[in-house]
Amino acid sequence: MIPQEIYDTLKGTFGEAILESKLDGVLDPWITIAPERVKDIARFLRDDERMQFDALMLLTGMDYTKGRLGVVYHLHSMKWNHKIVLKTVVAAEQPHVQSVEAIWKTANWHEREAFDMYGVLFDGHPDLRRILMPDDWEGFPLRKDYQVPEFYNGMKVPY
């Protein structure tokens, strides 16, 4: 399916939950979806006969500044060999996004990393804890407004 068909199908099925899209003139066409419907849309994309997005290539957190965080999903179907990018944007104060761990197991670690680096909270994730940073680290390092702490456990951080 070409991106336009994927968009039309999603719009037809989920209506309001499909927010924006940019399908032409970009390297990777993307669709913005509502954060509270991520799981349903992901399940549809994986299981629907025409879609069959069996592989989640990448899940990444983003900081869009001005108090907005985001999650970007790069999907690929091995069967149909088509791709699509999903994006979802949440407020940095309440960064709740549905977890897709139950749909693609690979999301488990990717979501933990997005939580670790941006503080995005994935509702329904079985084991949401830091993955790369130490467990007692404070703050979310990849946020654009992140300030490096002066001390970590009594050790000086900047050198």
């Binding site: 069996d54 290539m57 060999n81 670690w109 993955i131 940073m133 390092p141």
Partner: protein, 401 residues
């Protein structure tokens, strides 16, 4: 072996324990307490290939669960990228992801930025890049196979692999002056052209190396002890592999014929004839450790094929003609994935129109492949965890970034 043993009291095991009642032994009068233990493997354990800690929850010799702990080598790669004053400065950092096959990493990053910039690199650059990337694959696989032999108790094949690896490193060193971390593939071109004797040396290497693969097979691959140790161990079914996002030899070992060089071609890979080796379960079952091992052996043969084809067609030209003076892509984003020795390496580069990247996200193949380990290990023996981990072939520089 620095394996520390601790009887587990609380934490992860509490959940596992909850469902298990101590078994009453008839005639004994009291319940015999059967309790799981937590064994820490690593972060300094030799079989973890770096600083990886595995928390093994074991019931006797049987592994109930594995919890990998990573991040010991975290060095803020992605944060650094956002603070670079231009895109070119990221290249040396990219080298340090999968430091065993640095050329492959640079390749992916260079393609990503070139796509953002919409520039076309000269033919000669493409050919040299492919040759170097395939050299990298051979080097990486030699290390993977050699150290896998070490894990399984065979010391000699490791030395043979290191010997052959030297030949490749010599050619690379002659080209760009470095043996491990090259900073060779720049955005839009290469840092150096190859030397005039490059083609002869490469041909000579290919001629030398083919029989050495057969030698490795005789030494290790078809060794009875090695097969007993790896065949039928750590089976990863194909549907699980895909759902976990596994890629590279881990995915192909499970019998899935999937190689980005063929299925999602980048650069000039569609011009070369080569096969995609997959696991067939010859010695055990499809998707076992031996299959993953053997896929790497066959891939080295295919890499030699590609190098031979590329070196014959190597066109003349200037390798630096397309290097931009100033890199300032329009606002936009791209996800580029390439087939490195470890699997699908993805770069998600976002530009906001300034000279430094807004976001560089790496999708490290080892990170994703390592996340399959708990699924593979459950129910296996402790000793097999070493076999499974070795067959995944991880590099912690890439996992922790």
């Amino acid at each position: 072996m620095d394996v520390t043993v601790a009887v587990h009291k609380e934490g992860v095991l509490a959940d596992v324990d909850a469902g298990r009642k101590p078994a009453a032994i008839p005639g004994l009068g009291r319940a015999l307490r059967a309790e799981e233990m937590v064994i820490n493997m690593g972060p300094q354990h030799p079989s973890t290939h770096g600083v990886l800690r595995l928390e093994l929850i074991v019931d006797g010799e049987i592994v109930v669960d594995v919890v990998p702990h990573i991040g010991y080598l975290h060095r803020c790669f992605e944060k650094h990228c956002e603070h670079m004053s231009n895109y070119q400065q990221v290249v040396p950092y990219v080298d340090r992801l999968d430091y065993v096959a640095a050329m492959s990493n640079e390749f992916g990053y260079a393609i990503a930025v070139e796509k953002l910039l919409k520039i076309q690199v000269p033919e000669r650059v493409e050919y040299i890049r492919v040759i170097m990337a395939e050299f990298s694959r051979i080097v990486s696989h030699l290390i993977a196979l050699g150290t896998y032999g070490l894990d399984m108790g065979a010391f000699t094949p490791f030395l043979y692999c290191m010997r052959d690896r030297e030949h490749v490193l010599d050619i690379i060193e002659e080209t760009c002056g470095a043996r491990l971390l090259y900073n060779y593939m720049w955005v839009g071109g290469l840092s150096h052209d190859v030397k005039p004797n490059f083609q002869d040396k490469t041909r000579a290497f290919c001629k030398y190396f083919r029989p050495k693969i057969a030698e490795l097979n005789a030494l290790l691959s078809y060794n009875k002890i090695f097969i007993e140790r790896t065949a039928g161990v750590g089976i990863l079914p194909p549907e699980v592999a895909i759902n976990y996002g596994a890629s590279g030899p881990v995915l192909r070992g499970s019998g899935v014929k999937w190689d980005l060089r063929k299925n999602d071609p980048y650069s000039i890979y569609n011009r070369f004839a080569f096969e995609i080796p997959v696991g067939k379960g010859i010695k055990g079952e499809v998707g076992d450790c031996w299959d993953r091992y053997m896929v790497r052996v066959h891939e080295m043969e295919q890499s030699v094929n590609i190098i031979e084809q590329a070196v014959e067609k190597l066109p003349a030209g200037d390798v630096q003609s397309a290097i931009p003076k100033r890199i300032r892509p329009e606002a936009g984003e791209v996800y580029v994935r390439t087939e490195t020795p470890k699997g699908e390496l993805g770069f998600y580069v976002v530009s906001d129109g300034t000279q430094s990247p807004y976001r560089v996200k790496v999708r490290p193949p080892c990170f994703v492949n390592l996340s399959t380990v708990p699924a593979i290990c459950r129910g296996s023996m402790i000793a097999d965890v070493v076999a499974i981990l070795g067959s995944i072939d991880i590099v912690l520089g890439e996992i922790d970034r």
